[in-house]
Amino acid sequence: MAGLLGGDPAQLNLDAGGSSAILQGKLEEADHSSTNWYFPREELDRTSPSLRDGIDSRRETYFRKSYCTFLQDLGMRLKVPQVTIATAITFCHRFYLRQSHARNDRFMIATVCMFLAGKVEETPRVLKDVIYVSYTLRNKKDPSANNRIKQKDLYEAQKQLVLYGERLVLTTLGFDLNVHHPYRPLVAAIKKFNVSQHALAQVAWNFVNDGLRTSLCLQFKPHHIAAGAIFLAAKFLKVKLPIDGERAWWQEFDVTPRQLEGTFSRL
């Protein structure tokens, strides 16, 4: 699992952490957040709060996957759009950049992140529904969970946890709530390059969703991930991407194919 991301992010020069102007790709959405949320892989591994509590990066990668799967499932059961799920996942990733898995139950934090993402993305789900669905999902193997969560004591306790957790998550995130995703640049790029193949869009979209479950979105900006996903999808489908005059498509993103290939080679 640890080798999920091929290549060496530092050498990829995808503006992982810096603010160099040359990387202002045309498809980048301006992000005025005062906090930098992108870090090279080694820094992520080295400074992880979970590591200090004895959770190694292998185990953290496993935890990361497990809350992502949980959030995807929870989001689908709550019938929120994919963007809301993506925001919840990003909140969760960012939370564990600054907090330890040893002290914060990942399924509770994930539940909080979904509740919060619903409100932030203007697709709110009532707290009661979030708690019911989350609890039954977390206790999938226990058929009595469904009724148990309807008991007042348990429900109230869960509710207090979520409400307390919401404050913790907000503070930990420094109230940075506006999350950009690769979806918009992806769609824009596919339109712009006149790539009409539906299959390509679908495959690229799936790669973006796969990337969401890894620490990729903590390392690279959304438009870079979009570029990588398109590149990989084209390679996968053996489709030639158009070259628009002098400029090859990927130059719009300020990344080279070799860099992209490096990033996604093990996806």
């Binding site: 301006a30 709530l177 506006n178």
Partner: protein, 400 residues
């Protein structure tokens, strides 16, 4: 990397006097000991709301962090303290409502131009970032001690731009609502803010609210009295809007007759901001490039604008537009009125009418019931107004 920015929270600010009561809590004046700046701290009670941190607070935080512009209020910091969330804003001395209301202030054409330019600049920035303000009114246009006008109160603002997104039409105080909103449109765009800005432009010229409807239908009536009933050619999409009702045809009076003192350029811009068809309405950026802003007189420099002596409560000047006969509704409303959306709120109709009589704010379409003047506290009214707004909002948008 792991340090929280501005992590010192409560200790950083020395609390001063109360500045006013907002919908979700008190606003205090305070001193930022880190920068020695005077700030306004909006305290939001967390315990009060059963759905956690209220979505209006989250919106305000999310959007204001994205929007940095001289004509948009700056959100300096956010921190939780005890059972409250604190939003720290730059301190604003006054607001445009106080300016318009202050009889000691004479607004020259250059002053009006200056206020409109600042308002449109802030708006152009919002729209560039795909943010709709949705609550423009003089009271939410704040004025700093150096005379800069800044858009404030982003509690109703939204990201727009995805064509499939459906919005609630229950936004804006009624007097600032565009005809497409009044006809129930749910896929509106930046034109709604432009219409409201047009109403503010008119209010600056007239020194009183321009179109003071007492219900949504009456609001449309007032709009058609002023600009004539739109013809199909003027606004082709009108008849397919959800709450469209046919009005008896009224011809448009000359715009000049409504604004006898305005220049030709001002009238031309005004008429473009009041285009019926939102697709034909001028954008904020185009409005800034309109010749009104480049011809004499030049806009007054912000620091030279006169400011009201105090922010104290005062009554609005008596309104009433010189009105020709009321347009008549010809067909019944297309669907049941929205008041039925909140059966649980006893007396909502009564209370929010009393609110309407004050500044045209309302939450629901209530037909043509005349306003009454019950003496409900302003904070209660605005709380209820917001509450109703948000409930409808929630109903409308959770299914998207």
């Amino acid at each position: 990397m792991l340090e929280l920015k501005n992590g010192i929270g409560a200790k950083r600010y020395v609390k001063g006097i109360s500045l006013g009561e907002g919908t979700y809590g008190v606003v205090f004046k305070a001193l930022d000991t880190q920068t020695n700046r005077t700030v306004a701290v909006k305290k939001i009670r967390l315990g009060k709301y059963k759905e956690g941190v209220h979505v209006t607070a989250l919106r305000e935080i999310k959007l204001l962090k994205e929007l940095r512009d001289p004509n948009i209020i700056e959100l300096i910091d956010v921190y939780p303290h005890k059972r409250n969330l604190h939003l720290v804003f730059e301190f604003m001395e006054s607001d445009l409502e106080a300016v318009i209301r202050d009889r000691n202030i004479l607004l020259s054409p250059a002053d009006v131009k200056s206020y409109m330019q600042m308002c449109l600049r802030g708006l152009a920035h919002c729209h560039k970032k795909w943010v709709l303000h949705r609550d423009l009114k003089p009271n939410n246009l704040l004025i700093s001690s150096d005379g800069q006008l800044k858009l404030g109160d982003f509690g109703l603002a939204r990201i727009f731009g995805s064509p499939d997104r459906k919005f609630t039409h229950q936004v804006f105080a009624r007097w600032y609502r565009s005809p497409e909103l009044l006809f129930g449109s749910k896929q509106y765009g930046s034109g709604v803010d432009i219409w409201a800005a047009g109403c503010i432009f008119a209010e600056l010229l007239l020194r009183r609210p321009f179109l003071q409807g007492s219900s949504d239908i009456d609001q449309l009536g007032k709009i058609f009295q002023a600009f004539g009933t739109p013809r199909e050619t003027q606004w082709p999409d009108m008849t397919s809007l959800p709450d469209y009702v046919e009005f008896q045809f009224t011809p448009a009076p000359a715009l000049r007759s409504l604004f006898p003192m305005a220049t030709e350029d001002a009238l031309d811009l005004l008429s473009k901001m009041f285009a019926f068809d939102p697709k034909a309405r001028i954008t904020a950026q185009q409005a800034l490039e309109h010749r009104y802003f480049s011809t004499d007189p030049a806009p007054t420099k912000a620091h030279l604008l006169l400011r009201p002596a105090s922010k104290a409560e005062g009554m609005r000047p008596p309104p009433e537009l010189a009105s020709p006969k009321e347009p008549v509704v010809l067909s019944p409303p297309a669907k049941a009125r929205r008041i039925s959306l909140f059966p649980g709120v006893a007396g909502a109709e009564h209370i929010h009418h009393s609110k309407e009589s004050k500044d045209g704010s309302s939450a629901a379409t209530v037909g043509e019931t005349p306003s009454d003047h019950s003496g409900m506290a302003i904070t209660d009214r605005s709380y209820l107004k917001r509450k109703l707004d948000m409930d409808v909002h929630f109903e409308d948008e959770r299914h998207v």
